[in-house]
Amino acid sequence: MTTKMDRRDFLKYAGLLSASASVPLLTPELLFAANGRRPDKIVVLVELKGGNDGFNTLVPFADELYYQYRPNIGIQQRHLLPLNDQVGMHPRMKALMPVWNSGKMAWIQGVGYPNPVLSHFRSMDIWNSASNANQVIEAGWLSRVLPNFKQGLHGVALNKGQAKLGPLYSSNMNAVTMQNPKTFLSQIKRINDVSPSRLNPAIAHVSQTQHQLFGVGTQLANKMGNRPARSGVRFSKGVLGHSLESVAEMILSGIDSPVYKVTQDGFDTHSGQRGAQDNALFQVAGGLASFQQAMQKAGLWNNVIVVTYSEFGRRVKENRGAGTDHGTASAHMVMGGRVRGGIYGRHPNLAQLDQNGNVQHTTDFRAIYGTLAQRWWNQPNPWKGAPLIPFV
């Protein structure tokens, strides 16, 4: 087959294109993303995806109603890991007992928000953006704290498959998703920098993300390219264990991210809850225990806080499939070297359920965000309405 493309044609064409294509700029945000040092205050967000059942996580064994509502899936007191004379941890979270015993783990009870939405997606949007139930905010809650806290990289979200930025999502933040740094580094070599285009929102998003990627890739290559730091701790083989191991390695390597987000799936337990949730909590406890050890070993335990969150809790009453349906308030955990351990917030009143059979929340979730902003990062609290919680 003959071809019409001769050299003269081609050069004419290349010349024509060079007007529209331009050489990438080393923009300020790129420069910061490429360098930067490890912040001394890091938050690891653990997303419990699907709506974790708080009542079978931090079990209110002293509440008779709990057992009345859950004849099949309720966990007997003798199987629990007692934390005080009211509540006990799920037995499969045993790996975290040393952290509790060291006084570095806090539980916050009854976390939710007014006018709860029972849709996974909408409720997660609310948690991600710290909006009210009837309000749509696109940007993640961290975008109201972090850009003021530091320049450069703001967060890394890790997951197998497609990680979601969630609370890190915003056009004014520098955040990336990855499966793990190793894969990231092996693929980054083939990426060129591009200058962001504004032709239309689609190409603007593609080119902006690629530009950002290039900056973060440069930093990762510099700090982890040849000899990435190893934690020296064994992590479990699951997705969460793998993600947390990567987080530990990035922190040890001095990556300048103040936030890491990891995800454990499997909490949407409409049926057969005991098997499914037991396993998911086992993964969470195992992964976090290894992470704690890694940080302790590196002398960085005082520099990190781990926080769990989930779109909602679950209904008090178990359903016929030995599962639970979408609920409202749930218990969440905070741990770290500077955490003041203990039980915070009130256990929701199981005698006072709404028309859906759900409890009234006792702690607004934005109290946790506000506490992290003000008491951990020393930033103004954007959520004045919710009183801070002295867990740190």
Partner: protein, 431 residues
Amino acid sequence: MGKLGFEDARHLVSRTGIGSEWETIVRFQNLTRQQAISHLFNNQQMNMPALPQMSPWPKMVQLRGNMRRKKMIKRISRTEGKAIQKWWVKHLLDTKSPFLERMTLFWHNHFPSSIEKTTQASMLHKQNLMLRKNALGNFGQMLHNVARDPAMLLYLDGYVSTKEEPNENFARELLELFTIGLGQYHENDMREAARAFTGWGINEHNGLYRFNPQQHDSGVKTFLGKRGNFKGEDIINILLQHPKTAETIAKKMWREFINISNPDPRVINHWAATFRNSGYDIKTLLNQVLNSNEFWAPQNRGALIKSPIELTIGTLRTLPYTLRRVDLAHNLNIMGQGVFAHPSVKGWSGGKNWISTQSILRRNSMMTNLTAGNLNERKNRGGIASKMPDVSPEELHQWLLAIPPLQQMPTEPGKQRLTRAFVLDPAYQVT
């Protein structure tokens, strides 16, 4: 009306097909808009590749009854899930009616059922055939079919929903995602709908839909302001009378065919009205979408982000590249568009969500893999260039990119080199 010409034909092909096959563009450029659209509608190939082996429901249902067999079910479903993914991916690569496949994917994304939750490949296969058969048919009919589709009954727990304990999973998503959308109903409407679907289940012996009157709540329900002794079918019919149902679909069409920004509400109202007035005839709606000013507007060219399927399978259908040592179905999983493997009942969010730092790396490494090879056309006997149509650099650009490239193009000559530069440019990620 005049003939489409190359640029418009290319736009129509790349937006309605999977990739932009040269032969189709050449055929379409001499047709009028309406002729080309009719061609899309009439080209419906239903023959599928040979089926992989899949365990029948009666065998699986026995294992389900046994807690200790959980691992076995997992193992079987993982193997069979991979096989059925490959089955569809093969068809997406080979089909002669890409528009029909695109619409089947569209509905597969509107009514997701995953292998992970259902663990039943044989049912996903049947659901897939049902969606393809109705993909350009009637939405109302499809919705009724989906509600009693065994894979959906498994996916959203409808099969365990009983009079004493109605399971809310299906009713909730039916209202929130499949029809009227959040904000159009109260929790109570959802619970009443859940009651109406009680007793819907799966026949243990043949795996088909079965209604069990003993488990059906035949009491009076109040749903969206109506009272009656509603059955599941009645709930669906009430939802089909509600104007928001057509709007939900119209909005999804906007994101599929126009751009990634929020849809223009006036256009959506217009499309939704047409759709409802046609009794939910999907072709009528599509005809309006594909004839709209928005579809053809110059500012909407290149305003959509390619899905992983469009990017990878689309490239393989457009250019004579061959995929080396790569499991395509698996790669679609990790790029976020595994068929029968949606991240949630909301399906793939698409649009901006296709692109993250993570996915750019994967998309790029996939394209790099595809375009790798010796660029010296004399040494590699022309390489892919010898299998490509005889086009000038300008035509190649027009064919492969909807917008100008962002990166510097190579200064050395060579069609294979230039093709690779186009495919690796960020501009290739949009359509």
